[in-house]
Every structure is written in structure tokens, then in C-alpha cells.
Symmetry: C2
Subunit: 153 residues, 2 copies
């Protein structure tokens, strides 16, 4: 396959990650029952008593949605080699049933890996916006990508 | 219910989060097919060609496991009111089929919320260790908890 190498990422570039299908209450509850069974994620009645005033998606669910958009729109078309970590994950606003989340990837920095000559490191900001254009999630992500092979190599 | 309030968290306290059942290849692939379908998470053959040399769990899967341990061992027995964000998520080592992950929660700081008098903010380090005692994941997490009601209030 062809696809993006490290050298194809330019600081300042913004990549549209597309939109995830409208989130349902049953998806929110189903994810949370498995991974984050707190009352405000799994029980609509109990959630009314929380500071959120109703059922909200687990932040891990929202993050997983961002990851899926990132893979479909970008990583699956790139020579991605994983990530050493994430920083500054912020849950800016609650995510609720009926929300439609759109992703955006902004390249912050790109530099060759000091330790692995085959790889380059790309720092990015990943954001999810709801259907009203409000940011619900942001992440500063570091990703490794293969460097473009020398011609004839 | 009784349970931990903000005032019950002391900096330096370490809480054992217990051990997640041994991870299977099919669980790793199933999670990744839904949320992070990169070759090194979903295709054991293709994974051999990656820098990981074999199938590894998605970092979002590992994080979700940490969250589940945290809820079962601590948050479900506390007056938890969610989280504004996470910092310094680090994937220290690959997680593979057969790994048994144990969680640990260390209280870093605890302070009343400046904005919400009903809540207190607890910063913690959450770690997952594999069956060889090696750290595979660490997270600096901020969580909100209800403050203990005044007697008679």
C-alpha cells in the first residue's frame, strides 16, 4: 500500500476525521456496563441525581470513538507504528445520547525519533466536537510513523 | 450508602485495585475491531511485521481495563462525581494475550474544588502492572468526589 509516512505530516495541518453515527442511550449504557459502570453512565434515573443531571457517556467511550475516527480517516491510510502515550485528555462537556461527534486532527510537531532511525514522532491535537460545534473532548497525542524509504532502498 | 468522601483521600495512600482476568487474544482482537482496528491489534500475522513483533492490545483497551478495576475496587464504594481529564497516559510496555494485569491507585493530591463547594478534587496515579510486575500503563487522573456532609446537615 501507499500511504502517509512521517515526512507527510506538517505542523499546522488540520485533518478532518469525519463524523461518528449518532450515539444512542443503549450504546452509552452497554459500553459503560463493561468498562465504567458508574451510576451516571449506566442508570438514567440515578444519573438525574448526579452533578450531570442525566446520563452521560464514559470518557473512555468518547475517547474510543475518537480513536475509531482517527483510525478510519488517517491511521489506516498511514504507516502508523503505535503510540507511546497521550497527554492533556480533557472532557470539556458531557456527551449524551443523540450527540453526533465529529473529529479533527491538528499536527502540532513532527520530528525524527532519536532512538529509532526507522521512525518519526508526530504530536497532534485530537478534538471531538458535538453537533452544535462545541468541543467535548481534546487529547494531545504522540504517534510513531515509519519514515519514507529512500528511493531504491 | 456509606462510602468514601473527598475527605477520606490522603496524599501518599496506595489502594490495591485488584487483578483483571487473564487477557485472551480473542478479547484483544474483539475490542480493537470495534475501536482501534490497526493491524498490530487485530491481525496476528500482520502484527509480526510491526515494530511490536506480534499482536498487542490497544492502549484504549488497556486503559478501559484500568478504569474497570478502578470502578470495582474504589469508585463504586465512593461518592465519585466524574473526571475533568487525564494526563500523562503512558504505554510503557506492550500488553499481550496471556497477560494478567493488576491495578494500583496512589493519591497524589487532594484539594477542595474552587468552583464547586459541594466537591473535592483528587489527583492520583493509576498504574497497571503485568504478571511479571512490570508497569504497562500509567495515568495521572483527576477525579471529583462529594465532600462529606456536615453532621446534621
Amino acid at each position: 500500500m501507499d500511504g502517509r509516512y512521517f515526512e507527510d505530516f506538517r505542523p499546522g495541518e488540520v485533518i478532518d476525521l469525519g463524523t461518528y453515527p449518532e450515539l444512542t442511550e443503549s450504546e452509552i449504557i452497554s459500553f459503560a456496563l463493561q468498562w465504567d459502570p458508574q451510576p451516571f453512565h449506566v442508570d438514567p434515573e440515578a444519573a438525574k441525581e448526579s452533578i450531570f443531571g442525566g446520563l452521560i457517556a464514559s470518557g473512555w467511550h468518547t475517547g474510543a470513538i475518537a480513536m475509531r475516527l482517527l483510525v478510519d480517516a488517517l491511521l489506516s491510510k498511514s504507516h502508523s507504528q503505535g503510540s507511546p502515550g497521550l497527554d492533556q485528555i480533557r472532557f470539556h462537556r458531557p456527551v449524551r445520547a443523540g450527540d453526533r461527534l465529529t473529529g479533527r486532527y491538528t499536527v502540532l510537531e513532527a520530528e525524527p525519533s532519536a532512538k529509532r532511525p526507522r521512525l518519526g514522532k508526530v504530536m497532534s491535537r485530537i478534538e471531538l466536537l458535538n453537533e452544535r460545534g462545541e468541543a467535548v473532548l481534546s487529547i494531545v497525542s504522540t504517534g510513531f510513523f515509519d519514515r519514507r524509504p529512500e528511493p531504491g532502498a
